[in-house]
């Protein structure tokens, strides 16, 4: 019972949300408290990773109810890494939000909502109970609904409507899946489900339930035929909210897919993981082709989220330790890089008043630093050595060769090239092209200063994330070790099961 740090990723954001809400009318106090809260979450993430690294998988039985009966919280390496990434996102966004979110939105509870969102996300990462996971998903969803509508612009309201509808359908599928699982095994504890499902005689029925979960989590993760809500909604809110959603929310779906398809839906790999492989390929291709057609930066980047989700699913579908390690590294890398790209696009829009590539131009002349800060994550996203994206794609492709999945390797390489194409498109249009006849600024108006007071809040998070990406690129060794450990835990669910169920004996 001394593993109470496992409760911290849930309680800490909740406490932050409550305290921030108390200071409802004092925006600057809210900003400061939110920063403290986010720093704390990052620290908790680091502690959790350290603890799991040193002592192996950790679990805690809430209320001391023994394992299959009560709610269990479990942190294996994968969960710990995800909590750490959530903490990092919270930390950089806490700085960025100070200057990026307008007063009106801060006044209507932006900080409280962001913290409940992080609570839901961390809860989903850390829980070992399938129904509890459903509840955390709902916490996360309701916060994200309100964050999307916050401000009430026409586009936002309409985008939220699409987002809400599809996500409620996904939740209904999830709930039905949980119901089936309970009916088949009589338990909700994920480790216990894994044991009981492996002994279940009717394996065909398990595959049917697996498909329910695939649809439910597939909608959240925005995989191939289920992604249409994402490009319709993610570009509508202010850029700080979009960046949190892009970095974090769709990865929760991927996390859940990896969790259930490594822990208990492993009886019929020939069918389920082949299907995942096909989905992965189509997700990559459709996402990147959609992005190639866009001239609005946020929409372009939103479609790239989808294409990158494909790589993560590819790692799950190949289903070897190396492939899963690649998938997890890709999730971490993508959270950093994708958040960073959205932040850069937000700064561009703040400086030039537009996201439209056809209007923008000449940014690298006016703001060389901003050019660098865009170029590094953009090349990393495309997988250029020696940046972070190169290593995760290398792991995935190496795993693909070992498993002799040549088709998916070919697809992933072509998609990388197309990713590079759309990144150079942004570069050429927004950064290199001569500044178009100014439609957005008045003629003769001097360029806004990037280093002036409130804009520094925008600059620091981008520099931090770029540094993290470069660090992973040049010193990949510790990150490799961590994701390898996570992948081994996932491939040998027996450890996980022993820790959760053994703890009760």
């Amino acid at each position: 019972m001394n593993n109470l740090i496992l409760v911290a990723p849930i309680l800490w954001p909740l406490a932050t949300a409550i305290i921030v809400t108390i200071f409802w009318f004092r925006r600057s106090v809210q900003s400061a408290l939110n920063f403290v809260g986010a720093t704390g979450l990052l620290f908790i993430g680091i502690m959790l990773v350290r603890m799991v690294w040193l002592d192996g998988i950790q679990s805690v039985q809430i209320g001391s109810w023994p394992a299959p009966y009560g709610i269990t919280l479990v942190a294996d390496m994968f969960s710990a890494i995800m909590v750490l990434m959530a903490g990092l996102t919270a930390f950089v966004m806490a700085i960025y939000s100070v200057a990026s979110i307008d007063k009106r939105r801060k006044q209507f509870g932006y900080y409280s909502l962001v913290n409940t969102l992080f609570m839901g996300v961390c809860g989903a990462f850390i829980t070992g109970d399938i129904f509890n996971m459903y509840v955390w998903f709902e916490v996360m969803l309701i916060s994200s609904f309100v964050l999307l509508t916050l401000g009430g612009e026409t586009r936002q309201i309409e985008g939220t409507f699409k987002y809400v509808t599809i996500n409620l359908i996904s939740s209904a599928f999830f709930l039905a899946g949980v119901g089936f699982i309970y009916g088949m095994t009589g338990t909700l504890n994920m480790a216990d489900i894994a044991v009981k499902l492996s002994l279940y005689e009717n394996q065909g029925l398990i595959t049917v339930v697996a498909m329910l979960f695939l649809i439910a989590f597939g909608i959240k993760a925005a995989v191939f035929p289920l992604f249409f809500w994402l490009p319709a909604s993610y570009h509508t809110p202010p850029i700080a909210i979009t960046a949190i959603f892009a970095g974090l929310l769709s990865k929760v779906g991927v996390y859940s897919l990896i969790r259930v398809f490594t822990l208990f839906f492993i009886g019929n790999i020939g069918f389920t993981h082949t299907l995942l492989m096909i989905i992965a390929g189509f997700t990559m291709v459709v996402g990147v082709l959609g992005a190639a057609a866009q001239y609005e930066m946020r929409r372009l980047l939103s479609l790239h989220i989808i294409s990158q989700i494909g790589y993560m699913i590819m790692g799950l579908a190949i289903f070897t330790p190396l492939a899963l390690a690649g998938a997890i590294l890709h999730i971490a890398h993508n959270m950093i890089v994708k958040t960073n790209l959205f932040l850069v696009s937000g700064v561009i829009s703040k400086l030039r008043g537009s996201y439209n590539l056809k209007i923008l131009g000449g940014i690298s002349n006016a703001y060389p630093l901003l050019g660098t800060l865009f170029m590094i994550p953009a090349l990393s996203l495309a997988g250029m050595p020696p940046l972070s994206g190169f290593w995760s794609k290398l792991l995935l492709i190496k795993a693909g060769f070992e498993a002799q999945q040549y088709a998916i390797i070919a697809v992933s390489l072509v998609v990388s090239l197309l990713t590079l194409y759309s990144m150079t498109k942004i570069w050429n249009y927004a950064f290199w092209k001569d500044a178009a006849p100014c439609k957005t600024a008045k003629p003769g108006e001097p360029e806004k200063n990037l280093f002036s007071f409130p804009n520094v809040y925008l600059l620091v998070p981008m520099i931090l994330l770029t540094l993290v990406s470069i660090t992973i690129g040049f010193f990949p060794e510790p990150f490799f070790l961590a994701v390898n450990r996570a992948a081994e835990d996932l491939m040998n669910p027996q450890n996980y099961i022993n820790v959760v169920l053994g703890g009760s004996l």
Binding site: F131, L168, S171, G179, G183
Partner: protein, 117 residues
């Protein structure tokens, strides 16, 4: 009883999907509500139906000796109902907003987010 409920659940799912595919926003909300009812009833049925066997330990006894109904599915449904109640309330306010700012209740005409910038 199980067979009857199975048909009811099937009917609810079918009705929900039909309503979700309608173009009218209000009907879509009714469809979503039906969908959550269908899932709840599914959990209820799948937890085995037993009539008049409350899971209460007799006074003086240490444990239950006969077969009793499983209380857990009902606890799950209660949680799910509360969640879907909150979400439905949010969605109703949202469609009111949609109607005010976009001015249509036809899903096919909600195209603001699809037009380029």
């Amino acid at each position: 009883m199980e067979v009857l409920l199975a048909f009811v659940i099937g009917g609810l799912f079918a009705g929900a999907i039909y309503m979700i595919l309608r173009r009218c926003v209000v009907k879509l909300i009714i469809g979503l509500a039906l969908l959550s009812h269908a899932s709840n009833l599914l959990i209820f049925t799948i937890g085995r139906l037993l009539r008049g066997k409350a899971p209460i330990i007799e006074e003086g006894a240490r444990q239950i000796n006969e077969t009793v109904a499983d209380p857990l599915p009902q606890a799950l449904i209660l949680t799910a109902i509360v969640i879907s109640f909150g979400l439905t309330a949010f969605v109703i306010v949202l469609i009111e907003q949609v109607y005010q700012v976009v001015g249509v209740d036809d899903v096919d005409k909600l195209k603001v987010t699809d037009s380029s910038n």
